[in-house]
Every structure is written in C-alpha cells, then in structure tokens.
Symmetry: C2
C-alpha cells in the first residue's frame, strides 16, 4: 500500500499515562491507539499484524482437530452462577439489560462452552472433540499499565477439549503443547519462550504457562537452562527444582504469560451436568481441558522482545508488510519496483510521501518491516536499488531483478 | 470435513422462546446456538458462513479504499458524553470499572472513530480517508425475538469516511452504494434488496437503507416496481412517491434493514473538534459519512429469503461447504471421491456417519449446501455418482470425472 494513503502517520506525542514500551512504540508507529487505559484500537498496520498472528494460530489449532466457533461476549448471570463465579471472579464486568436481566462480559468461556457442548455430546463415540475461537475478552482490571500485555479488553484464542477419560485428555494436552511451541517458533519467539509449571488452581496440581522472557513481564519465573523449562514463582515453594532434570540452581527472570493451559477435569462438566454414555452404557462426566493464548498480548510481547532503540523489528511471519520501499524523490522508478513486487505477491508498504530522506528512514526503523528497499538518485545512477534488513546494519546494492529473486 | 467429526449434529428440540424462522432453522441445522435472547454463538458451520460473508464485504470495502481497523467495544463515558448520547441513546449497555470509571458497550463507533481520526487528519492533503471494521456491537434491546435479525450482540461492518467538502462526500457515498449493491449481488440477494429512502435523523434530510424483502422483516417499506427503489414507512408522509421516477402507486412490503448509510456532515466532527487545514489555510470541520452493514443480520436475512420447507438453500458464495457428499454405506468409494474433491480445492462436508439414508437426506436438505453428491450401491453399480442441486428437484447420474469437471 502507498504510505501517502495510509490512515496513520507516525506520531511523536504519546498519551501521558502510557508507560509501557510496547504501547509507546506501537502508538508512535501507528499500529494501535489508546481509547482508554487497557483498551486499544488496532489501526491498519496493527490489524495486519493481528491477522497474520490469527492465521498462524488458526492453522495450528486446526492441525490438532480444533474446530473454529465464535461465542458471544454477553452471557447471562445464570451461567456464571452455575459455577459460583458470578460472585467470586472479581474481574467480571457486569451490565444490566432492559429485559431486567444481568449479564457478564466474558473474561473466559467455560460458562458458555460447557452448556453448549452438552447439546451435542451424548456418547463416547462423539469424543474427543475440541473447539476454539479467537474472540474479544474483558477483564475488569483495577490497573492496566502494561499496554497490550494487560488489557481490560483484549483478543484471545481459547480452545476447549472434551474427553472420555483422563488418558485421552493427557494425550491431547501434550499435542496442544507441541502446537503452541509451533506457534512460538513461527512468530520468532521460540528462544525466549519457556514452558512453565504453574498453579493448577482448584482443578489439578499444575497448569502450564508459556512465558516469554522480557523485563516488561508482570510474572517472575525460575528458568532451568538445561531443559528450557521453568517454574512460576507462585509455586516455587512446592516445586523448587527443574521438573524435567531435577536441577536446583534455577535462574530468576521476568516474563509475560502469553499462554496458559489447564486440565480442568470435571470442574465445569459437573456444575453443568455434562455427561456422556460410555461403552459400558454408564453415564460419566466429560473430562475437559482449556487452552488460552493471548493474541493481542503476544503482539505486545513480540514488541518488547524484538526492538532496538530506533523502533520495532518485526519477525517476518507477522510483520505488517514484508518490504518497506522508500522513494527518495524518485517516485517514477520506485512505482515500477512497487508494481513488480506486488505482481510477485510480496506485500509492500511504499513510502511515496513528499518528505525528507531522514524522516523516511526514521519512520521505516520505527515501523520495523523486515526489509527496507531504497530508490534514490544515487542507487539509480548505479542502475541499482539498496536493500537492508531491519535486523542488520549492512545494506547491499542490487538490480531490480536480483532484488525480486531475493525477496520472492 | 468429515461429518462424523463435526462438533454439531442437527437437533430437533428448539429453545422454547425462539419464534423466528431464521434462528429456528440455523439452530436445528447446527449453525448457531442461543446463549441468551438476542445473543448467539456461531458454531463451525455458522462461522464458515460468517467468514465467507466477511471476506466478500472486506473485498468490496477495500475496493473503495476502505482500510480495515478494529476498535474496542468498551469506551469511556466521556466519549459518549461529548456527543450527548450517553444520556439519550437508550440502547446503550453500560458497565462500571474497578478503576471507578463508567464505560459503554458500543452499538456504533462514531464516538471512537472521530477522536481517533483527529490524531491523523491535519490537512486537506490527507483527505479523503475511509476506515472500516467488522466487529461486535451491543444494543440493549427491550425485546429480541427475531433471531439474527435483531441481536443484543451482533456482528457488524461499519465504515466511516472523512472528506474536505460535501461534494467529495456525495461522490464517495455513491461509490458506497455501488459497493453495497455488489455485496448483495454476490450473496444472491440482488433481486430482493431495495435501496430505500429513510430518515436522515438530525444530520441530513434522508439516509439510505438496504432493505431485504421478507415477511420476517421488522420494517415496512413502499417499493416502486419501475426503479427498484423504495421509501421507508417512517418518511412516507413526506416522501410518498418514488424518488426516482415519481410513480405514485408504491407497493407495501415487509423488509429487513440489512444496511444503513448516512451523510453525517459535521455532526460528529463538531463535538470532537475534528478539523483540517484547507488549501486556503483555513481550518474547517471535516465532513463525515458512516455506512453500516449487519453481518450476522445478513446471515439471518439470507435464511429468511433462501429456504424451503425442508431447510436452508445457501447461495453458493456463502454456503458453509459447496458440496455435501453422502455415503450410503459405501465409505470406501466415498472416501476416494472426498479426497479427489479436496485435491481440486472444492470444500466438502462428507457424511461418513453410520446412519440411515433417510436421515442423511433430511440433514443435507436442512443444512442446505448447494450440491449434494450421493454414493450408494445403486450408483456404484452403474459406475456413477448422483448429483443434485439443493435448489432443484432433479438429480443426475455421472462419473467421478464428470462430477469433478462440473464442480470445479
């Protein structure tokens, strides 16, 4: 797309109360806007990142037989009373209807998906099943000062699985771990992400988190450098050695919890009486698992991990555009390259604006597309273009043909 | 996908209070589930329809230079007070935060998009601009008894445009009408949809609606059979002849308002002081337009228009699957056809379940994919398969090769 037509510009003024690096960088570069504390709009560049993230997550969820659905945000008080969470979950936003009913704005969907599954699960023959959604969640946070990392409204992927027995849940749970690891690898966070033992709540001994190391994190974890596993501070008293290799000298780190997966057991099937008929004809409660992944939070975590003092350095798989093409007063030649790149199916942000070269370079570094291509009088005199990777300081001169070969 | 693995089954029991045909059919066929009155979950089949609809709408909005963004559902009381609508808009759901602030759940986004645009619009050089989103909306309706046609929570496309002068808005407004007409044509509702003169509210003399004729509609319109235009009952007193040809004998019809477009003028730029610097150096208010289209409502309208007594008849462009393949105890041969169709990129729902033929036929008619393919002992004996269109009563026998040629 042509940058002269882009809805946003990079901006210098930041909201006064915005202290997190991820939100500061994303606001300055025009990816997001702050509507209220912990409530953001995604602008054209930011929405492109979210869509690329969503597509990766959808592919990986479908690869483990997840079926995509979409559950609502509003849910009646009765659903939340059935599990007792209407009164105990302090982050629940509540609202009243003109129908004289009370509703919650869901921060999670066990209270919706369990009665839903009850309508379709009768027999062991229908199990296992797994459904997921990528949907807005609401949490009535007292404070929200970490940008996309702790929102009052945020985008989340939540997967729910339904099993006839514990062994089947255990098996599926391990497959979800692998799918999550694929996701973190595909978005370039493999090295920074630790499968972390955490509290299982009232459901089971442990749950697992996917913790991304960054100083911006609100969690403290203890990392084992042997096995790339970690333990969340909340359970370090009971679990103070590496659960994998038994190593004792774990390293304390700050991290962002990007995902959290739980073996729910019958904790939600019991209150909603979600049962199936087993092979022996007996009615048994369905065994459930739930698997969360913060989509907007992941975007924030990527920015915290992948940046330098000049701006964001997007991993190629979720960059808003692969190429940022800068015309330094050479729009005719640049337009031709732009069209050639589009023809090859390469997505390009083309800076065709009437601005100083310096301003264009500053914007390109701030926005952080993986490849920067410069067309200037100097490069054209040599019959060439300049290509530079955002993650690299060296640039190369090459012909248009070589450029396309390289980027294709 | 294999129907034996689908999350949903067709169901016979309906929620007692569900009186609308569209919701009844969609619930019975497993496309949606009712979470509360006017609040629905989209299940795998239904979410596929929504995604196909969304893709058509996104393409048409991008063709008129709309840039996709995503604004939040929660918005502070201050934004809604700026326009006075905090107190006057009775359908506003409200909620309180632990930060001691009050929030609205947006039923529309002028109160968000206008201050947002203010951050990026300075000069006439940046205009015109248009942004859109496909996003959840909330309306605190007293009653919600028309299924997807009137939701308390619903999916909507809303486009907002920003202009330097009225002529530019007028020109863009006409382009939006054409884009909407493309959408209705692409989803098979061209013949049933009328561009309808409606009240312009406090902004302008008229707005325009896109009304889909159906007995399930909550609106009354007066249709001119010459010009395929209509007038909404709400303004028939002031506008009782066809606005196009002057014809007087208009035909009264019930219809669903699937879209509504408005020339907002400076109605929202004034309270938010959204101005731009014109060529002459003068600061002037930005002229705005807004253009809504109900995505989930359209899905409901399609079902009201496209069905028979056996079930839904999806237009091909938004059908959950193009082909419903039924194996009548011939899963080996059917599996081969299934794989061959998938290889051709044709989306297929394959009924591989152990059920009676009669039940499979009933389900296929209820779900309503455009093409039904039957593999049975009888068809295989003739070395063939049976193909039938959902919209047609006649079936044809053909070889697998002919079938693929036909469906490709």
């Amino acid at each position: 797309m042509k940058q002269s037509q882009l809805f946003t510009r990079t901006i210098k003024e930041l909201p006064k109360d915005e202290t997190s690096f991820n939100a500061q960088a994303l606001i300055r570069a025009g990816f997001i806007d702050k509507t209220a504390a912990g409530v953001y709009s995604f602008l054209p560049l930011g929405w492109r990142v979210i869509n690329k993230l969503k597509n990766i997550v959808i592919t990986e969820m479908e690869a483990i037989e997840g079926q995509e659905i979409n559950m609502p945000s509003l849910t009646s008080r009765e659903n939340w009373q059935a599990t007792g969470r209407w009164d105990t979950l302090d982050v629940l936003f509540k609202t009243s209807g003109l129908d004289e009913k009370e509703y919650a704005l869901n921060p999670t969907h066990e209270e919706v998906v369990t009665p839903l599954a009850k309508k379709f699960i009768n027999s062991y023959r229908e199990l296992p099943l797994a459904v997921f959604q990528i949907q807005n969640k609401f949490r009535n946070e007292k404070r929200a000062k970490s940008g996309l990392i702790r929102g009052r409204e945020f985008l989340m992927k939540d997967l729910y699985s339904f099993h006839a027995n514990q062994a089947d849940l255990d098996h599926y749970y391990d497959r979800v771990i692998l799918a999550y690891q694929n996701i973190f690898r595909r978005i370039g966070l493999e090295e920074n992400t630790y499968l972390t033992y955490a509290s299982g709540g009232s459901f089971s001994k442990y749950s697992h988190e996917f913790q991304v190391l960054t100083e911006a994190g609100e969690d403290i974890i203890y990392v084992c450098d042997n096995c790339k596993m970690a333990v969340n501070k909340e359970i370090i008293a009971e679990q103070n050695i590496c659960p994998q290799c038994g190593r004792q000298d774990l390293r304390e780190e700050k991290a962002v919890e990007a995902g959290n997966i739980f073996k729910l057991g019958t904790n939600y099937s019991d209150p909603f009486d979600l049962k199936f008929q087993d092979k022996d004809g007996e009615k048994k409660p369905v065994i459930m698992g739930c698997y969360g992944l913060g989509i907007s939070r992941l975007m924030g975590a990527v920015v915290e991990v992948c940046h330098d003092e000049k701006g964001i350095i997007w991993p190629a798989s979720i960059a808003p555009f692969k190429v940022h093409l800068l015309s330094l007063n050479e729009n005719e030649a640049a337009e031709k390259i732009y069209q050639d790149l589009l023809k090859e199916g390469i997505d390009v942000l083309y800076d065709d604006r009437e601005l100083q070269a310096g301003e264009k370079f500053v914007d390109a570094d701030l926005i952080g597309c993986p490849y920067r291509v410069v067309v200037s009088q100097k490069t054209l005199a040599a019959g060439k273009l300049e290509l530079k990777q955002r993650s690299n300081t060296e640039s190369q001169l090459m012909t248009a043909k070589e450029l396309i070969e390289k980027l294709r």
